[in-house]
Symmetry: C2
DNA sequence: TTGTACGCGTTATCAT
DNA sequence: ATGATAACGCGTACAA
């Protein structure tokens, strides 16, 4: 069923059918009705390829994320897809992993697919070494690029993020104000956002101490669901003689490992050890005791991102950078 | 940059460029090299719309899932997208929610998008009332339909699933063999798969008892991350006088609620109460004690689904139904 | 208000 | 081995 079939059955030209389809007002009510009836009757929908070919747009947004099975990224992808759909846009998804080459490849695939805009979900898309971010700059020449949870100053690149620096600093300060003396920072990534969090931690420490003790910055290189690995790392750290009475984590799953550590080391939470997670995911309420965590308002961020995205596609102005603040949700580990 | 530009710069016709692009052998080595050089130099890639218009295919598979932020579905979507990408297919994602009308709408959107095939992830796409499954039958006329975790006998519909009936029956029998007398079944869905699990539970009970006591089949209507709601439901159930020493759950998050219940009721797990979850998700290792759970080999299922999908798209034969068995992973709640 | 005709960038069929 | 050209189905400028 093509526009020709419809035009024939309705006894009009294809131009008129096209006008009806696209809401052009230069059609008499009578003709419109006639055409709509035929369209309805045959359940006709325009061919997306032909339409795309002419307009060079497919009403589709590309979503790149490292790993859509990660609890946090999965939520983000979900909110974004839902939001875009509500505005009539489809979503082309590509899970790129954390490797730079694959990310580049996926991004250029999106460009070739002629998506209207591309959304990079998660700070892992921003490299510390800025020369490695050239692929984003290049993409931005061809279409708008939206970043969730990353800060990148570039024409046609729009960022929505949480102030991870301040959130982590506040969480650390909060622990200090609650009599914690030896606070450990535990992280498992060196992404843009991870670095910001680490800086926040350091700033808080420097507000009370003379110097930084790098031993209190603990990097866990394992996989995201290696909870036991985190536990073991901490047991080992403690065995080496490092004392700590609180742990600020870059992620809830890390915090979950800390809770396992406490159990293994027979420490009572929060009496002997305080723990703060990040992302306020479902893990905060399934673990025991329930985890205090920083909520970064992911849903709000995603909704704003979609809103900005739609504005850009409509040719409207929108801020290049929007920052949400985080918020410590206190539960039973603090 | 179009095929015309390339043909001009290479000093050949567009037909030759097209042949080179599509691996047609009727091109001299010399010409091929010349064309490839130009393509390389200008980083040319064919326009997907024009190609789609001619071939009526976009090398893209539609993925429908109710909620890609659900831990289990997120994993499935991830594995499927990765698999498809490895075979050169893109993925158009649509999160439809659990409402029938939205599912229908999303499916017909996929058909209009001319995806090559559509994958319905999760048993929620199959309705108990078979007349409500007509939308799947209709779609299958237009393109292959793949179902993950559902069993549907229809031409051009292919199913990959886990034997949820047997897995749940086995889990229940396992508890009986380990001296559990009063086993509760806790579920939160009436999807195809949920019904199969319930049947498995009933079968196990009937193997030992004369009759079924429906009081031991507990439905939790709340949202997926309402852990406290599950806890409260069980506290209430117990208050009503129902005794139980084991709970088989349709989902790990439900099981997580059971663990919270045990704590609230001051019951020791697994001494006073055994708990078995389903899906073997990350929740099994973040909760305390760690949760025994049925692993349904999701990754294997997804890889098989993708493999079948690709075979169908290549016009090869593939089984219409493939069933994986589940497996109880014993941890500390049994 | 309505219709005609062209352009969009491919693939594929037919000549040569 | 290579080239010319129709066909794919739509939007739209222009004509009527």
């Amino acid at each position: 069923m093509t526009i020709y079939d419809i035009s024939q059955k309705a006894g009009v030209s294809i131009a008129t059918v096209s006008r009806v389809l696209n809401g052009n007002t230069n059609v008499s009510e009578k003709t419109r009705k006639k055409v709509l009836d035929v369209i309805e009757k045959y359940d006709y929908a325009p061919n997306v390829f032909a339409r795309g070919l002419g307009l060079d747009s497919m009403n589709c947004v590309g979503i790149l994320c490292a790993d859509s099975s990660d609890i946090y990224l999965a939520k983000a992808v979900y909110y974004i897809e839902q939001g875009l759909r509500a505005y009539g846009y489809n979503s082309l998804l590509s899970c790129t992993g954390y490797d730079l080459e694959n990310r580049k490849k996926s991004l250029s695939m999106m460009l070739n697919q002629r998506v209207d805009c591309v959304i990079l979900v998660g700070s892992s898309y921003l490299e510390q070494d800025d020369s490695n971010n050239a692929y984003i700059r290049e993409a931005s020449v061809k279409m708008p690029v939206m970043l969730l949870n990353a800060d990148f100053d570039c024409e046609n690149v729009y960022c929505v993020l949480c102030d991870d620096f301040k959130s982590t600093m506040d969480a650390t300060l909060w622990l200090m104000e609650h009599k914690r003396k030896k606070i450990l920072y535990l992280y498992n990534s060196t992404s843009y956002s991870a670095i910001r969090k680490l800086s926040g931690f350091r700033s808080a420490i420097l507000m009370k101490e003379q110097t930084l003790d790098k031993n209190y910055e603990l990097y866990f290189p394992g996989s995201r669901d290696d909870i036991d690995g985190v536990r073991d790392l901490l047991l080992e750290t403690r065995k080496k003689g490092l004392e700590f009475d609180a742990v600020v984590c870059a992620d809830d799953s890390l915090a979950s490992g800390v809770i396992k550590y406490a159990k293994a080391a027979k420490l009572s939470i929060p009496k002997d050890l305080s723990v703060i997670g990040y992302n306020n995911s479902i893990l905060t309420i399934t673990c025991e005791p329930e985890l205090s965590s920083v909520d970064n308002h992911l849903q709000d961020q995603c909704e704003q991102l979609v809103k900005s995205c739609v504005q850009i596609l409509r040719g409207e102005e929108t801020p290049r950078k929007i920052i949400f603040s985080g918020e410590l949700i206190e539960r039973s580990t603090t």
